[in-house]
């Protein structure tokens, strides 16, 4: 049986936009598919189509061989039958129920004690201790968002749909939650579709990405590939260009991690919690370039990667260099620096990069 | 347990029936009277639907007659117990001297609102209208008329002062409350057709024996005497 969610559907808002959703989501075991795109591009609509909250105007949605929606055959499975967790952008907490009751709402089938254990666990995970008896109106915005996330998780559904789950949180809380959420989802082998417009969040949590723009899917597939090779400039603009490569963690010693990316070794500060695999994120602004052959000075910059300039592209005040260092590396330098060194395409250069400036995102 | 005799009685009988009930109980202690007062028209309608009454005392003989015609009551059980009398009634404080003016009181300038029962269906209303017509007053009084649903409501119109003068039943005018708060004069008997008040025992009566007994008691001298005390004068006497 095909363990994929196959979405090939259209939703036309009367007097509004048309959203065309064509992509796949693996359903066998843990994986996070990120829906990424600017405001109004149709992310929420796609999620609602998946949830069965909007009817498909054309096309179909099939999950593991089962038809969820099919406009031609007039099939529309209700959300109840899809076994989902859905976190809406507006939270939609039940105002008449306490935080406890909101979290336990979908757990009718559980025994009281199991239900309580589950909700306690969620309160802990979501840093909501002591708020169990409150009503949603007595919570702050971020607390409400966390309760809504917990409620979607509680049932351990077959598919989790999260619409911008962390927007109302401060950065430290976001980081912590992302990490713990990914752990939890992996533990539950729970496939997830996540809407976000935060690139870091996408990279941290996502395995696959679906890039939306103006109601259409511009690109979808492995998140690495999308950041590597955006199919068109629109996608590149939406994603924000930066080097994002997957590497194998070779070792961690004294706070310094060594990651193999293709033939290259990259030293990076250990973010903690590294496993086998990690995304190596390098911002173009952080990469300096030297002519090859210059003697290395005693600087704290750890990484010196030999490579060649494949393309050279003026971008306003800056020049974007695409290097081939055994993996594609983007580098952003000022126009003046480029002129001073007289860089042209094909030149052999050394890319210089502080270990502390390499951003590792654990990804197992 | 005592036998139950359910009586549907016209509203104007309520004062008289209290005494009648007491007197009847002396001779028939085993029978319990369950009294329901209301408009005769309503009772008629309800009896056509087998309302559980054993005896119907109407304000108007026409309703019992109709029941008989419809085959719902035995013609033999039909009886007349009184003739209704009309009076002109004003509150004690009224400037209208009914006693001296008689029917002309209706034309008194202070008689801006004249209450009477609805002539379309209330027996006393029909009689009152006939009287006004016969006395040539109808046209003059018409613009001042306010119509009560039944004779009891008509009495309330005047008694509350909302209407200035009313054409009521003598039985009501003789009720203690009314007597205490107003004055009245009888409408000449020859001005309206006899207001025959009668009753009948419906076929579906559950307690025909007691119904017959009560009818007999009502028409006995003792019963008629009590009725007379409340303004019901049998045989047009």
């Amino acid at each position: 049986m095909d363990a994929h969610l196959i979405c090939d559907a259209e939703r036309r808002y009367p007097g509004g936009a048309t959203i065309e959703a064509r992509f796949e989501v693996p359903l066998d075991g843990f994986s996070v598919t990120v829906l990424f795109g600017p405001s109004g591009s149709g992310k929420t609509t796609v999620l609602r189509l998946l949830a069965g909250l909007e009817r498909v105007d054309q096309g179909r949605i099939r999950a593991g061989g089962e038809a969820w929606s099919d406009a031609a055959q007039n099939i529309h499975l209700g959300p109840q039958a899809r076994n989902l967790g859905f976190l809406s952008q507006d939270y939609d907490l039940f105002p008449h129920l306490s935080v406890y009751a909101n979290l336990g709402y979908g757990l009718r089938d559980l025994e009281a004690s199991a239900r309580q254990a589950r909700t306690e666990e969620l309160l802990e995970l979501l840093d909501l201790r002591g708020l169990g008896e409150r009503r949603p109106a007595e919570l702050s915005g971020g607390q409400r968002q966390r309760v809504a996330l917990g409620r979607a998780l509680a049932r351990r559904p077959r598919l989790l749909l999260l619409d911008e789950p962390f927007t109302a949180l401060d950065r430290p809380a976001q980081l912590r939650l992302r990490r713990e959420l990914r752990e939890l989802l992996r533990g539950l082998a729970l496939p997830t579709v996540l809407v976000t417009h935060d690139r870091d969040e996408a990279l941290h949590l996502g395995d696959r990405i679906v890039v939306l723009d103006q109601g259409r899917v511009c690109q979808s597939g492995d998140i690495q590939r999308a950041f590597d090779r955006p199919t068109d400039p629109a996608v590149a603009r939406i994603l924000g260009v930066e080097t994002v490569v997957r590497g194998r963690v070779e070792g961690v010693a004294e706070g310094l991690a060594t990651v193999a990316v293709g033939p290259a070794r990259i030293f990076a500060a250990d973010p903690g919690g590294l496993g086998q695999q990690a995304f190596v994120c390098i911002r173009g602004e952080d990469v300096a370039v030297e002519r090859q052959g210059v003697a290395p000075s005693g600087s704290t910059a750890r990484n010196r990667l030999p490579g060649t300039i494949t393309t050279l592209h003026a971008e306003g005040a800056l020049v974007r260099l695409s290097l081939d260092c055994g993996f594609p590396l983007e580098c952003l330098v000022t126009r003046q620096a480029c002129q001073d060194l007289g860089l042209v395409e094909g030149d052999a250069v050394t890319a210089i990069l502080k270990a502390a400036a390499v951003h590792l995102i654990p990804h197992d | 347990p005592p036998r139950r005799l359910a009586i549907a009685a016209a509203a104007d009988l309520q004062f008289a029936l209290v005494d009648l009930k007491a007197a009847f109980a002396k001779t028939h202690p085993e029978t319990e009277l369950a009294l329901t007062f209301g408009s005769s028209g309503n009772f008629y309608t309800q009896l056509t639907q087998k309302a559980p009454f054993d005896l119907f005392l109407s304000a108007d003989l026409s309703y019992p007659k109709k029941l008989v015609e419809a085959g719902l009551a035995d013609g033999a059980s039909l009886f007349t117990y009184s003739r209704g009398h009309l009076v002109l009634w004003v509150p004690k404080t009224s400037p209208i001297p009914v006693e001296t003016l008689g029917m002309k009181a209706l034309l008194h300038p202070a008689a801006r609102k004249v209450a009477m029962a609805n002539p379309r269906y209330a027996p006393y209303g029909k009689a009152a209208e006939a009287a006004l017509l016969k006395l040539g007053l109808l046209e003059a009084v018409q613009p001042h008329l306010v119509l009560g649903d039944n004779i009891a409501q008509t009495a309330q119109f005047v008694q509350s002062g909302a209407a200035d003068i009313g054409i009521l039943a003598l039985s009501l005018a003789m009720a203690p409350v009314m007597q205490a708060s107003g004055r009245y004069v009888e409408v000449p008997l020859d001005a309206y057709p006899p207001l025959e008040q009668g009753g009948v025992i419906p076929n579906h009566s559950q307690n025909r024996a007691d119904a017959l007994a009560f009818r007999a008691f009502l028409l006995s001298p003792e019963g008629l005497a009590i009725l007379r005390r409340y303004g019901f004068q049998a045989g047009g006497a």
């Binding site: 909250l53 | 309503n42 801006r112 379309r120 269906y121 008329l145 306010v146 649903d149 209407a163």
Partner: protein, 224 residues
């Protein structure tokens, strides 16, 4: 057919509904938002007219409006005619009698308006009154409609109080429901049925129009 009665009824029902709306808007607002401890007493009092049988209520009203009461006396002095057996008296009685039908749906609709929206309006400089007009009332549309329909229909069908206070004067206080009653009492079942059908027809039309209007005004809102 007693067209006069129909016209009178519609007039009375419309006017009553209008007057009630005017009274109930502030009263319901107060009930929905006040924090007074004794508010529940007012709520109970407002519901009272429902409880007395109409003819009895009518009787007490007749006493209260009659020329012997201070109100009735003042009225007669000012307008030269008594309050009972007049259209104005009928109107007053109907308003009193139908009060809860308007107040209750309104108050519960008002209380249901999201607080954030009210606050948003305040922050945009709108007074409580204008917030009421621009936010609370439009968002209570369903409740207001319920109130209007219930009051209108109820006044149209009202009979006990009207009979008592109105005195069944053709053209002035004989409403169509009294006319039907008359016909039924007089056992004119044919005309009664026809008039009743007319009353039902007119009401049905009004209600249908009202609901259809709402249908077109509101977005369809359904459970998929």
């Amino acid at each position: 057919m007693d067209w006069q009665a129909v016209r009178l009824s519609v007039q009375l029902a419309s006017l009553t509904t209008l007057v009630l709306l005017g009274l109930a808007l502030p009263l319901a607002y107060w009930l929905a938002f006040t924090q007074r401890r004794w508010k529940f007493l007012v709520e109970a009092v407002v519901a009272m007219p429902l409880v007395l049988p109409p003819t009895v209520l009518g009787f007490y009203l007749l006493m209260a409006l009659g020329p012997r009461s201070p109100l009735g006396w003042l009225w007669e002095r000012a307008f030269g005619h008594t309050l009972p057996f007049s259209f104005e008296g009928l109107l007053l009685a109907s308003v009193l009698y139908s009060l809860p039908f308007m107040v209750q749906p309104l108050a519960s609709a008002f209380a249901g308006v999201e607080r954030g929206l009210i606050e948003a309006s305040w922050c945009l400089g709108e007074s409580r009154f204008r917030t009421f007009v621009r936010v609370i009332v439009p968002l209570s549309w369903g409740g207001i409609l319920t109130g209007l329909v219930l009051s209108f229909a109820h006044t149209l069908g009202e009979f006990g109080v009207v009979l008592m206070v109105g005195g069944n004067l053709p053209g002035r206080t004989r409403t169509v429901s009294i006319a039907i009653y008359d016909q039924v009492q007089a056992m004119d079942y044919g005309p009664a049925a026809r008039t009743a059908a007319l009353l039902l027809g007119v009401s049905f039309l009004v209600l249908t129009l009202t609901y259809a209007l709402r249908r077109s005004q509101r977005k369809p809102w359904t459970l998929i």
